[in-house]
Amino acid sequence: MTDTAAGLLAQAADLPGLLDAAYEAFDHVLAAARAAEDGAGSLLPAFALAAAAAADGRDAVLCAPSMPASGRARPLPAPPLDTAEAAADYAASLALLLKTLLDRAAAGGAPADQAACANAAACAARIAELLAPPG
């Protein structure tokens, strides 16, 4: 289902579309991290803090004036992830994509949108930092 979350982001044609997709993607990362926590073993600290960063990123996106006000949740199906490592890889790669797109969006547009995108990009970077594979 990586393609689905990433696909939403890729399909975004404008800033409102990107923000809308970013909201769903952060929510998806949050759900993936929470689902992985119980069997995470020594990765639990990384998942617990990444989940917090994902919720922060989602809230940051909501602060952007260009974010559509009337959207409805579009829950994405949970990806078939067998291990905590796989869940971490998945969430980290999605977070990196989010960071790239939001950083780009933060470079233009209205100041309030820029600030919201920059905040959300920082949250995505934090998730990637926590969950990226070693090395």
Binding site: G41, P45, A52, A55, D56, R58
Partner: protein, 557 residues
Amino acid sequence: MTGNATFGDFWARSAASLIQGQGQPDAADRPAEAAAVAAALRRLLTVITRYLDDEVRWLNPEGLGPWSRALVQSRIAVQHAVAILAECPAAGREPPGGEGATARDLSDAAGTLQLARDLLQTHFTAGPRGSRTDRSDWAPVIASPQVSRALLGVLAAQARAAAARVSALLLPDGIADPPGRAALRRANPWLNAFDSAVRSAHFLDPVPDADLHLLEAVPVNAVAGRQAPTGAEQTAELAAGLISVAERVQRGARELAGRARWDPGMNAASMRQTAGACVVTSDSCEVILRSLADRAGELGQPELRDFLGQVAARAAAARRSWLAAARGWDQMATDAPGRMTPFAADALGMALWTGRLAYADPSWTPARGPSQQLRQPGSLAPDEAGLGTVIAAVHYASAAVMRLGEAGEQQIRVAAAAGRLYVPTRSLPEDYDVPRRMAKAPQSRVDTVLQAYSLAAEASVTSTLAVAAAAEVTGAPSRVLSAAARAAGNTRGGPLPQGLVMRLLMQQPDMQLIARANAGYGLRGLTASWLPGRDALPGPPLPARAADRGTGLEPQM
């Protein structure tokens, strides 16, 4: 324990000033120095008067117990002595050639005793008409009857030592008393009266050594600056760093609830990070406790191994509860998303220090790093003393997490009442028609988060009490936390965890462990009734700090 100066540091110096010169008659002290000695004694008694005035609030006019009577008698005695010394015409004038040894020692004792009082006062804010407000968790401990009695005993011991020094000047020397010495001769019986009043109270209602140790342990109310681990720390340094940051967190948590109505720092980002930090800290505490359990087994203590395993299970339960609390913030926000506050950063700092103690990699972080290998039990605690050092650090961390649970629950309650909690509109069911991105949080969602925090707080209390029991059993220096909680009447942090301790201990009954834990919790005798057919336990003394030091209050029969 924390590296901060304590009341005991100053008191010990003050007492040493008076005791070191005892039995060494100094000819230069005698007639010419009497006035200077009278002035120095008056300074000391003035300081003691300030202490006694601080203590007046625990006088109970409706039922004067022995210590209340002793306080009244002490104040009268000291007032008389001060009045007599004030009449001395030469008092306050330095004699030609400077002060002699007795005057100098009395002055030094007065100075350090005043510093000790200043240290106690850092825990309070002065209010109108002499009232005072608590500024720290130690404030109710200082104001407790136990510590107040111990303090009165300390002051009486100072007065007794001062009287002994003065007596040496009053040896008959065949000449008429000069004014200063006449005043000393008249004042000295009042010092002895002060001492006698306190001795009588101690005889009727003895001050336990533990209360004196608690008074000695009161630290200055100051928090060390933020410090991040460098990666070069040895285990003891990591333990000290963890204690320092945990104290900082505890102190910060104390202020949180009162500000939740308006403080921008009460925001979703900080609440999430703090809850996440509690998950990580509890998780690492469990890891550490399991390693310590293994180490106890290696050191030939199978009962302690099993006991610590039980304590670790409580830390795991706290971690699970904190995970649920953290998840409560997944679909909850605040009126402004805000940024992570310095306080939340401290909580994350505590998680980092705890992890550094738990894991072998000196550069460990919560991130998915190259090495999540656990620290070897032998490197965590090379010997039995090392067990206590690490348990003390875990004790402080657990207590900080416990405080965060209580504070978090209150913060959410206050923020909800102030209408500060929101949810993403997208997270609401379809039938909610809110044309905005955020909506006021439905009460059902607030209740869910509150319940999760309440459970996290309870699990953290249970975990902390279990670690406290381990601290008692191993003689860890953090036992002072339990004693302070008991003295302050903290109903969540300290009192009588009978059911828990008994359950923990009786799963692997070991009579010596039980007796030592009981002694620490004041449960002596309880076990006999809990265990049918067993006699009362012998109750060996806890490994006591300064165990062979007297209180200075022992009645002289």
